[in-house]
């Protein structure tokens, strides 16, 4: 593991620690967005290294994995896009 990855790992650990403490106080009506967001994190984690690596090996399972991650990522972004339109200052009647 490179030094950069170790530093990044530490930063992510710190962010997770701070973030999870906050997450424990999320209001029930926002659970939907947290679930969608965590789906995005999983999709992101998968699509970055694994799908591409499997694709290089020529396996169709890599394509399937990447497609599943893609559907999850697209859906998560669209669900989270509801937030600014719902609570933004420029909301229309």
């Amino acid at each position: 593991m490179t030094a950069a990855a170790i530093v990044a790992l530490y930063l992510i650990g710190l962010a997770a620690f701070l973030g999870l403490d906050i997450l424990g106080k999320v209001p029930p009506v926002m659970f939907v967005f947290v679930v969608a967001g965590l789906g995005a994190v999983t999709a992101l984690g998968l699509s970055l290294p694994l799908g591409a690596a499997l694709q290089e090996q020529g396996g169709w399972l890599g394509d399937v994995a990447l497609a599943l991650a893609g559907v999850a990522a697209g859906a998560a972004v669209v669900v989270l896009a509801r937030l600014p339109s719902a609570y933004g200052k420029g909301r229309t009647q």
Binding site: L48, P49, A65
Partner: protein, 393 residues
């Protein structure tokens, strides 16, 4: 591009992507910060795209990008109808699909590996499939019961664990961290869900059928003023239904502030008065008059049927006049001509407890899929609601 430079920058960008998305997710905790969530998640995906470019030394893996892009477009189309106030079951499949993706990746490694890697890949595949199955299992549930929510939190924990184990067998730090974060976040969310239901996460998951509370109700959804503010701030049409509890708490000025604040956010707000609300006929009108709420914003309950359709209704200290059985012409209060809130978009009930009203009749509205209870003194809850709405704009 120098491959060594790419190999150094790519993990940093990838970690940046994860951190940004994680901060975006945690921003939904408050109304005022929730607007940033979408931007942060989008930024995370842009970082991820650059990380992919750097990892491939400047050459875009065209096939992978095409597959991921087309699938993302499909996911966007499928999810476009999910509303702000969606049920948890309507979005759990997103995390489930991502977990299924990890499971498929892991399965492909089972045959090609041996020893510890093979066992880890198999464990990851099984966990991923279990997470996907659990999240889809609750897809058709009609409402977010605490049990449903706990199952979905468990699915998230499994999705996280499967990603974490995939990170172990593939020796990818990013997957390891993403999995750890999702598993811990699932746990934190499960605990938050259990807190909202007034029990522990383990009891919710393994405690069998939910017991009725001290007042005989099951599956009552509870929230706080902040949660109510998040839905009301996005509403176009708000109705406020006052009752005796408002008079008792002397919260009429809070109603006026709420009306003014919601109008500033762009909603049409009206106060619906039932003639039987309060101690004597006209009690509510006198109270609203005292607070200086204009008569033009007050509506008689018999004229409210069309206004209720699709509205977000705030019931403040009223009980019998919004009894759902009575509204359907059934039960001991059948002749009361109670307000029928079944066509409302959401119903927020501000009450001290689930105790019956003056008629001593059970109110099934509390168990309605649309209803959310905000327990507390009407005046204090209204003040907290107004303060949260003020902070958000």
């Amino acid at each position: 591009m120098n491959p060594q430079l790419g190999n150094t920058i790519a993990p940093i960008l990838a970690c940046g992507a994860l951190i940004t998305v994680l901060f975006g997710v945690t921003a939904v905790t408050h109304l005022r910060t929730s607007k940033r969530t979408f931007g942060l998640v989008l930024l995370g995906f842009i970082f991820a795209a650059f990380a992919t470019v750097f990892e491939n030394a400047g050459n875009l893996p065209v096939r992978a990008v095409l597959i991921f892009g087309s699938a993302a477009a499909l996911g966007a189309v499928v999810a476009r109808g999910v509303p702000v106030s969606a049920r948890l079951g309507q979005v759990a499949w997103i995390a489930g699909l991502a977990a299924a993706g990890v499971a498929v990746s892991s399965w492909s490694a089972v045959a090609a590996s041996e020893g510890f890697v093979r066992i880890a890949a198999l464990a990851s595949a099984v966990l991923g499939l279990a997470a996907a199955a659990l999240s889809l299992f609750r897809l058709t549930d009609e409402r977010d019961t605490p049990k449903t929510n706990a199952t979905i939190a468990a699915a998230l924990i499994m999705a996280g664990l499967c990603t974490l184990v995939a990170g172990v067998w593939s020796d990818r730090a990013l997957l390891l961290v993403a999995g750890g974060v999702v598993a811990l976040a699932g746990l934190a969310l499960g605990r938050a869900m259990a807190n909202a239901a007034g029990t522990s996460f383990a009891t919710l998951l393994f405690g069998g059928a939910q017991q009725a509370d001290a007042f005989g109700y099951k599956n009552v959804r509870q929230s706080d003023p902040e949660g109510a503010a998040m839905i009301l701030a996005a509403s176009q049409n708000v109705l406020i239904v006052p009752g005796y509890g408002l008079a008792r708490a002397q919260g009429q000025h809070g109603v006026k502030e709420l009306v003014e604040r919601l109008e500033k956010t762009g909603a049409q707000v009206r106060v619906v008065v039932h003639p039987a609300a309060g101690i004597v006929p006209g009690h509510m009108n006198a109270l609203l008059d005292e607070a200086g709420i204009p008569h033009s914003k007050i509506m008689a309950s018999q004229d409210a049927a069309s206004a209720i359709v699709g509205a977000d209704v705030v019931v403040v200290g009223a009980n019998d006049v919004v009894n759902s059985d009575a509204a359907a012409g059934e039960g001991a209060l059948a002749g009361l001509d109670a307000l029928n809130l079944s066509a409302a978009h959401s119903v927020w009930i501000i009450k001290r407890s689930l105790r019956t009203g003056q008629a001593n009749v059970r109110n099934n509205l509390f168990e309605s899929p649309r209803a959310t209870l905000v327990l507390g003194d009407a005046k204090k809850v209204l003040q907290a609601l107004v303060a949260e709405l003020k902070n958000s704009h």
